[in-house]
Amino acid sequence: MTFSAFLFQALNGLSTASGLFFIAVGLSLIFGVTRIINIAHGSLYMLGTYIAYSFATKIGGVFGFWGGIVATALIVGVIGALIEILLLRRIYRAPELFQLLATFALVLVFNDMALWIWGPEDLLGPRAPGLRGSIEVLGRRLPEYDLFLALIGPAVLLILHFALAKTRFGRLIRAATQDREMVGALGVNQAILFTSVFALGAALAGLGGALQVAREPANLATDLVAIGDAFVVVVVGGMGSISGAYLAAVIIAEVKALCIGIGVVDFGFITVNFSKFTLVAEFLVMAAVLIARPYGLLGKPQGAVRSIAEPEEPIRPATPMLKMLAVIVLAGLMGLPLLAQTQPYLLILGIDVLIAVIFATSLHFIMGPGGMHSFGHAAYFGLGAYGAALLVKWLAVPMGIAIAAAPLVALAGALLFGWFAVRLSGVYLAMLTLAFAQIVWAAVFQWEGFTGGSNGVIGVWPPPPFDKAWVYFVLTLLLTVIAVLLLRRFLFAPFGYAMRAGRDSPLRAEAIGIDVKRVHWLAFAIAGGICGIGGGLFAFAKGSISPETISVGRSIDGLVMVLLGGIQTLTGPIVGGSLYAILQDTVMRQTEYWRALLGIIILVLVLAFPQGIVGAFAALWRKRGGGP
């Protein structure tokens, strides 16, 4: 790579950086003020590209293109405001993170909406009128539009910067980012502030999406790609910092451009294709930044937000009624093998449901009582699954040993990653866990010789008698019951109390001799290990395992399960995991637009049960004076 090639790639990086900046800056503002992690932000970006495409092609010309971009930003801004007013405002009092569930449902709905309106095909917009060609730089041709993008990013950054510094609205945003309660105390109408910020953030996402219309086709997969990028940029830059977002966007874009520019390098003993690192470059950057600077490059520690949600009830041992219910459910499950002949699929689904229960319960263990919101729990599921599958593939160990090894592999991974993760808190911890999961995913994906790469490991079937669905079901049921009871037992033991003490008040916990980080670290490891059991069972249930098992999507599924059930209750994840697994199975069969249907069902559940399903029933039970 010559020096001029290097410089030119750096220039390329700047236009990509502007794109990343637009995706991220709105998310950062919204999070800074409202503390909502808006998963639907990528969907707003995607809608931006689609709407701008319609303007550019239906109206066409200079006005259709450039006017369309402005109009798109405004339209998406209005959509953002509507989301805040119609949906999020109703659930601000729910336990934290619950709003995430609502925005996740929106992702599903928006995606199917775009499919319905614009159809399945990629839609490549026209080139930008006035900026169709390229200019000569360093003996190479740089598209004019790329140059325009490279400039408009910093321009918008400057405008935002001054708006935040000089206007009353801007000062309110900054104040709210630093201390939300203070703004409330100043008598500012919080509802209007939140709506405006949501509209502004959405408009910026829409603008970013619209600006891409001349560079890339509108595509239904953009939403998830964009939200992934946005998270990384926001966290690397520091939540709530717009300059940080730009800085992070530049760093990430440049690292990627550099990897691409370097290309294939022969080191003599090994040939490395650096372009393949773009798969994971941003997550490596994020992990490195978070380990060195826990609040991102330009972020500041944020004052602890006192949750406005109802505080959690003390945990109580199961009431006789709950115990009876558990016995009935368990007996029912034990009876399922009787249906092996007539209803064989029930057992297959049952196995999946039970695995989901292990996944959700182990995640809840650290998310609820531990207060550690892991966004990368799939890593431990995947480590367990791959641990078991690779033992079978390379060492041909029997299933028993492979499944026993699964939690150990996951435990080892969780011990390693957890050690770093527990040093952070809140959304930064969430993002570091996400980064680790992505790194595990990329390692598995890239290390073809060992892991089978994108194909994964195939042919991991259980030996007789476990090849019969009912026998495997009984094994799964047994391990699930053990896993759930173990975790429950831990929660009622001193360790579980210490973990909750560390969550309720780290300062006070330290002041009575509890090593909070160490307790949380071990809790993280335990949750990872237990999750690994689910992974091992999964590998043998499916006969194969692929990198999808570790994907962000699976981690988010886990969050959805926990939140659906109710994060503040111990039975919540069991109900949430089961319900979500069954819902997915049922809904996917029902309609072509199953994603929208699933999204709408989740929205209804969110609005009807803002504390999660079990949480709502528990509250009702208490209100009626039943039991302590």
Partner: protein, 400 residues
């Protein structure tokens, strides 16, 4: 009533309720990544529907109507295996078909062997499905990565270029296409040099940087495996930056309407591609197909339409030949099964269970602001597949 009695009663009740309805249809299970690969699979589904109509309006197969049970596989091998189990155990389908992405196809291939279910892989291209991971119960319709790469070889060799750049999506399909290309070209042209390889993540290409890096490597020619959104981005950046100027490009799949049509006036003229010039194929079989398709859907067929259509036709022909829906008989019947398709007659090879349905190879051109293929010809799959003896060596012993 004791608990045991309760469960027995329950079992009986559920059993009665689920007594299979009258067996006057043959149920075929189909699973695919409809949500995430809709550009290809939407037309694919229509193609299936068209075939189904044609078959059932003529009385079905073995005197029974074909019934299709279609499922989304969640674009996830784990889900796909569960969906396959659901199709087999609950819906009672006699066989399964479908899948798009290579790794999902492979997972279902393996499932088919384990559960002894007949599986017709429709679209996934990886060679492994019929070779390294092949098994008795799996057949595949679509021309494989190897076949399509081999179809492009004459053009690549004729270009007589020494320095080649490769660009491919970083997953099974892209990786194996690149490997096949390098092996085949090296064999034909030992002094060839591969000056750079760009492997962007699927769906996330940083197109400007990739196009520039290829240009900076100063190749004489380029081999492209990108498709979908990645292709559109790459082409636009490459055009603006002059990357394709005076450089022959050979490209997999880029002539398929699914990926070509979105390019519109951006279509890179002169690329040698595999694809499907639907409006220019004038064989009677194809014309009949296009007419029927347009009449039913008021839309033109994509390649997916053909694949969906032929998948169902294959299944009907296989069942008719087997005179049964039993798995083992289907496996036997598909070996050497001959049938007609819009592309012409082809067969399922007994040796590796691969269909010989070919693809069109031609050059991209711009006509009326739209991309199309010119100078194309149909390459029959059997002309590019290795011999029976060779593939026997590739397949596991127990698959043969």
């Amino acid at each position: 009533m004791s608990t045991r009695h309760l469960y027995l009663a329950l079992a009986v009740a559920v059993g009665l309720a689920s007594q299979a309805s009258a067996q006057d249809t043959i149920k075929i299970g189909e699973l695919n990544s409809y949500k995430t690969q809709s550009a290809f699979l939407d037309p694919y589904k229509k193609g299936m529907e068209l075939a189904l109509d044609e078959i059932n309006s003529k009385g079905g197969v073995l005197g029974k109507k074909l019934e299709l049970v279609v499922r989304d596989d969640g674009t996830n091998p784990g889900e796909a295996v569960r969906v396959a189990e659901e199709l087999v155990t609950r819906e009672g389908v006699v066989m399964i078909a479908g899948t798009f992405l290579s790794h999902i196809g492979l997972a279902v291939t393996n499932f088919a062997a384990q559960k002894k279910v007949f599986f017709l892989a429709a679209e996934p291209l990886t060679d492994k499905i019929t070779w390294q991971n092949g098994n008795r119960y799996t057949y595949r319709l679509r021309a494989t990565t190897y076949m399509q790469t081999a179809m492009l070889m004459p053009a690549a060799i004729a270009a007589k270029k020494k320095r080649w750049a490769l660009v491919y999506p970083n997953f099974e399909y892209g990786q194996s296409a690149a490997e096949n290309f390098k092996t085949l070209l090296k064999k034909a042209q030992p002094d060839v040099e591969f000056v750079t390889e760009q492997a962007p993540p699927l769906g996330k290409i940083d197109a400007g940087a990739v196009a520039q890096a290829i240009d900076d490597a100063k190749p004489d020619a380029i081999f492209n495996v990108l498709f979908g959104g990645d292709l559109a981005k790459f082409v636009r950046e490459g055009n603006t930056r002059g990357v394709f100027k005076d450089r022959p490009v050979v490209s997999l799949l880029s002539g398929e309407p699914e990926y070509l049509d979105p390019l519109k006036d951006e279509t890179p003229v002169g690329w040698v591609v595999t694809g499907y010039p639907w409006d220019k194929i004038k064989t009677p079989a194809h014309t009949a197909f296009v007419d029927a398709y347009q009449k039913k859907f008021s839309d033109y067929p994509r390649l997916g339409s053909v694949v969906g259509y032929v998948t169902i036709k294959s299944i009907a022909a296989g069942i008719a030949k087997a005179k049964s829906t039993e798995t083992e008989k289907l496996v036997e019947a598909f070996a050497g099964l001959q049938l007609d398709s819009p592309f012409g007659p082809f067969s399922y090879r007994a040796s590796d269970h691969q269909a010989t349905m070919g693809a069109y190879v031609g050059k991209l051109a711009l006509e009326g602001g739209k991309g199309t293929m010119v100078d194309f010809k149909y390459v029959d799959g059997k002309d590019v597949l290795p011999s029976d003896a060779d593939v026997k060596k590739l397949r596991p012993a127990e698959a043969n």
